[in-house]
Symmetry: C2
Subunit: 705 residues, 2 copies
């Protein structure tokens, strides 16, 4: 018979287990995705025991500002979730370098001259774990890094090292309009409740800042680059101020997309000419007005002379004239981010060439606090593009990489496409001009067009959260592999079970390639339907601007398909470094995933596979379909490892993707056949419907327009 | 020293308490309003003990269909929340009348011939509590009624009675567009994710159905009455089918707003003339197609020949011609709900008269399965309108009451205005033609224009949930007082503390009157700014249609203010029963809250208060402001009784309301002064800005347009 105390202990343990299980069940019930990768779900017992051995009560050395306090609370919250309410036996210490003891001076040395936000995680065999940084934001980043590591599956000692951001500016661009509509948004309405600001601050604004901080994202341009001038009015500066105040403790600076014609639109001037002193004075006064309320305002993001937006060229001035005038208004206080996404009907030879042609001659003319923001590829966020030739071609200009997190061209929110491999492809690309793209943008940064929205899961689908996550992680450290990012995201977001990760991670890694295969195989691009960019429209050829038409891009005819960008064609290849241009000018030498981007080839061109180009194209479409079907099967098998609500949601999205992948393939094949008159290779499934059937689809209510 | 078993009991009790406190803490954290009035928060000990004495394990007699199973689960979930995981000692039995024992035949007798959804809650001194209904939906309603009563503060024995819905159709009208925009929606995007249906069914669709079922709401028209024809296409019928399947177990039938010109828009016909056999055949085929997939499809809601919508009058036919043709297509399977909201520039004498003039002559001509849906007042959901004169004037037509839950004219989602008193006012109004409005609509039902949206709290603000709740409760039982509804809502939504309820309930009850005072006092109406209906615009007088202009309604000039609807004016009063018209034609006899709706009076008209009309008007504006300030103070004092997140959210909304109430008052007074040239009474605060200042405001991004 047990003695009283034994009984108490035994029962205590049982009931603690019960408590834990109830809490877990509660968590499982609430798995709607809102918590993103910050769920801090309980670790399995062995890992939890290890974690307890290096953690414990959290303390901040010296005077703790609000950010340090947030770091402390985050670790407390995280540890409580990961290992339960029995704290570890050691401690976790947060210390700025100025508060280190003499014996810890080696930690300070690690961070000497390190960029803002850098931190060290170090083990102390007696005390537990210490996080050190030069600034409080570094402590907060360190807190999240610690928790990310604890929640992952890498050995704990690996977390002890120095962490430095690879580039100073890691920001989101929100294409959110003040009325709540998100251009190219597929996750509901804007998360920014401008209407009720400044009085009402939605809890989401805090949770958003926290999620960004967990990735090291330190800036957000809160409104669409197709900007409304009234957002520069006092009414909106008050709203923006409340946001800036809420985000400051999380290390996030607000940026505003500025409409270049604002001095005319709202300023009472009759010009927005950047060389007009009145215009410069207006912007100077506007900048002063903003800094009066928001001392750490980040600056202006500008889309100028692109797709109908006003700009300096309206007055015969250059992009540099426009950007420098705004840069002068901001002064040392902020940055002008000037987008290089320009194209116009005038240059009919090749849209892909225009940005380079307009910007490269301006190299060296931009002020120090101007960054030129360049999309990953020369067209527009297609499922696959070669890297933009501007990277490496403007050595005397700060260039920033613009990536699109929202999936405008990759299936909206319903297709599973993990985008890290796409970004890895561009970041790792050797420009042939003294560095990779990652190296070119390192002095500036990366911007991601956000996929956030009012949907409960933030991103429109659970797996799209991974793209927000991957963007932030890559902007902090572009040397991270897609695989590592997928693995740490999946572990935190769904669970640590090795059987789950072994299946889910490869599925994520191949997913974007599958989309490229069933939508735009072999370097084809811009084949989507008009306006809403939803579904296939390779037949579209009657839009008023030539470069709006899919037929402009694929150039398919009886004899062949593809855009000749070699010397015999638009010679866009000449914008790349000579070595690269030489390799790519030979269709046999180049990576055939880019083939038809650069070459117009006959349908019977013989591929390395031995198939004709036509047969290879069909083969890739079919492979895309097969892979999506395989994803759906894989996901079904993962039901035991995922809560029911999220499992069902992903399953249902995959059903949409399976249907739409077939639609892309079938409609595209029907169209190519109408052009080339060729039969499908033997054994290949006939498209389900006629070409006219697919052409008749309309989607007036498609999201994101 | 305690013996082992005692120790176990003691510790068990302690840990159960701990468990409960942890769970409650979890709930407190998650108080974002998503759970609406179905939070099932723990009862205080004494009430919990009482509840345990009449409840216990839940059982369903006989064969349990899905709805009965949902009823059982709901009670289990509710009891677990209210009294914790220690179940009561008795039981809760759910039984259809067919499964009653002989000894219980009195229960069956109670429900003999009772309308669908009726139920009895009865106490059984031995067994606990029994819920009996003729159908499973009644069991589900009974489950919710039981929990509502347990969670409230009325004595438990009072719940034992028979519950019968007062009217057969209790429905929501969603003005939601297929692209996710909600017309006059102030709670974010549409809750209906048409884009991803049918594959993806959002969890919200279940939670929505459950919330409606808890109130007895049994129908939903899922799309805007300004309808898009493509929602009748097969692509949308598939989407609708998935919704119908999901809602069926909750007793909710789907209705579709149908565009009258659909046979032309999508049917390939060149007419939509209701008397054209091809048109009738098209609708017949369409109805058959829908019923093939949705056997319990509710029917069509139609806005015809109103505000530019197509209708039978386009072909020289009457509303009855149009409605009856659709009714024939539906047959016994469904209902046509035909809106009486019509007005047009042709009838320039008085917009308030047109619906009556168009519809009353058609009395008796509508088919049996047609309901004419009439707004509460003759204009358009103003803060106060007299009841619509059509009520009582069409004894041979089924009339349904249309109320607006969304606050298009009462401050959007940021003003606190509990609307039950407004609806109570109209439901209780004696038509003078043999019954109250509630009695007139009893054979048909009530429709509420929903205030749901993608905002986490569903309604844009926590207190707007009360309007959804009140609509449902009143549609079930129009004899319920606003006070009773406010009390049961507040208790379930925030808590049972008497100190809280004593302050919060009166605040709710007076809130709508305050809004009427600072926006449209003394029967003024339609004074809002153009298009978005946000903020004051009494000066607007230049819109192309006369009845779009506020000046059309207030008719203020140097000499007086108000719309003369007596014999000397438009004589709209003649549309009311003679006794009512007689009383209201005398400004001294009538309720002065309607005064300027019916009378044009000089500014120095002497009011019952002894003040001049002008002084009284100013007085009412100021009283509105004072009351809003008092609400804000009251709410601040309630912080101890409300979780921090919701308390802060309401506080911040009240700040908006305080600012905007002043804006309404100041802008309106400045305008009236510009017209009447009068000084403000002594001691009255001067408006803050000039009239031009207020006139210059623009809000291009205002929600709900």
């Amino acid at each position: 018979m047990m003695r009283g105390r034994e009984v108490v202990n035994r029962i205590g343990a049982l009931l603690a287990a019960l408590l834990l299980s109830v809490l877990s069940a509660g968590a499982a019930q609430a798995e709607d995705g809102y918590d993103l990768w910050l769920r801090y779900a309980p670790l399995e017992a062995a890992r939890a025991a290890e974690v307890r051995e290096v953690t414990g009560p959290v303390q901040v050395r010296g005077e703790a500002g609000e950010t340090a306090r947030l770091a402390q609370e985050e670790i407390e919250r995280g540890l409580s979730g990961l290992v339960g309410d029995t704290p570890g036996e050691r401690s976790v210490t947060l210390s700025q370098t100025k508060d280190l003891t003499e014996g810890e001076s080696w930690l300070a040395a690690e961070l000497e001259g390190a960029p803002d936000g850098s931190f060290v995680i170090a083990a102390d065999p007696n005390a537990g774990t210490i996080i050190v940084a030069n600034d409080e934001t570094g402590l907060l980043y360190g807190a999240f890094a610690l928790l990310r590591h604890l929640a992952g599956d890498r050995p704990l000692p690996e977390m002890a090292k120095t962490y430095r951001p690879a580039m100073p500016l890691r920001m989101l661009n929100h294409w959110d309009n003040p009325d709540g509509h998100v251009e190219r948004g597929y996750a509901g309405r804007s998360i920014f409740d401008w209407w009720h600001l400044p009085e009402r601050l939605d809890q989401r604004m805090i949770d958003y800042a926290r999620a960004n901080a967990s990735l090291g994202i330190n800036g957000a341009a809160v409104n669409n680059v197709n900007a409304r001038a009234f957002m520069l009015e006092p009414r909106y500066i008050a709203k923006l101020t409340r946001l800036a105040d809420a985000w400051r403790p999380y290390g996030i600076r607000v940026y505003l997309s500025a409409r270049f014609s604002a001095p005319r639109d709202i300023g009472g001037l009759d010009t927005a000419d950047p060389l007009d002193p009145q215009v410069a004075a207006w912007w100077q006064a506007k900048a002063d007005e903003i800094y009066e309320s928001i001392p750490d305002f980040g600056g202006f993001l500008v889309k100028a002379n692109s797709e109908g937006q006003p700009g300096p060229q309206d007055y015969g001035r250059t992009h540099a004239d426009g950007a420098n005038m705004l840069a002068e208004a901001l002064g040392e206080r902020g940055t002008v981010i000037w987008r290089a996404f320009v194209y116009s009907a005038e240059d009919e030879t090749d849209r892909a060439k225009q940005a380079y042609e307009e910007f490269v001659p301006l190299d060296g003319q931009f002020a120090d606090n101007v960054i030129v923001q360049v999309k990953n590829g020369p067209i527009d966020f297609q499922p696959r593009e070669p890297f933009h030739p501007m990277f490496g071609a403007m050595p005397n200009t700060k260039l920033m990489l613009e990536a699109q997190i929202t999936k405008e061209y990759l299936g909206f929110a319903s297709h599973l496409a993990f985008l890290a491999p796409m970004w890895e492809e561009v970041l790792d690309a050797d420009t042939g001009r003294g560095g990779t793209v990652a190296q070119v943008v390192a002095p500036a940064g990366m911007a991601g067009v956000a996929n956030t929205g009012s949907d409960r899961n933030w991103s429109g689908s659970h797996f799209d959260q991974a793209n927000w996550y991957a963007f932030g992680r890559m902007a902090w450290d572009p040397s991270l592999s897609s695989e590592a990012i997928a693995r740490e995201w999946a572990a935190q977001t769904f669970g640590h079970d090795e059987r789950f990760l072994t299946a889910a991670v490869p599925m994520m890694l191949s997913s974007r390639e599958s989309v490229a295969r069933y939508m735009t195989p072999m370097g084809l691009a811009h084949l989507m339907d008009t306006g809403h960019h939803y579904g296939p429209g390779p037949w579209v050829c009657d839009l008023p601007r030539p470069e709006w038409n899919p037929c402009y891009y694929h150039r398919a005819d009886k004899d062949g398909i593809g855009f000749d960008r070699t010397e015999t064609g638009s010679d866009a290849l000449a914008q790349y470094a000579p070595g690269i241009a030489a390799t790519w000018s030979d269709p046999a030498q180049m990576d055939d995933r880019y083939l038809l981007w650069f070459h117009h080839l006959p349908w019977d061109y013989r591929m390395g596979s031995g198939r004709t180009l036509w047969a290879e194209l069909v083969h890739r479409y079919d492979r895309g379909i097969t892979e999506v079907d395989a994803m759906a099967l894989t996901w079904r098998s993962l039901a035991p490892y995922v809560d029911a609500q999220r499992h069902r949601a992903v399953s249902e999205s995959l059903q949409i993707q399976q249907r739409e992948a077939r639609w892309w393939r079938d409609a595209s094949l029907r169209y190519w056949q109408s052009v080339n008159g060729l039969e499908l290779p033997a054994g290949v499934r006939e498209p389900e419907h006629t070409l006219d059937h697919y052409k008749a689809f309309t989607f007036p209510e498609a999201p994101g327009q």
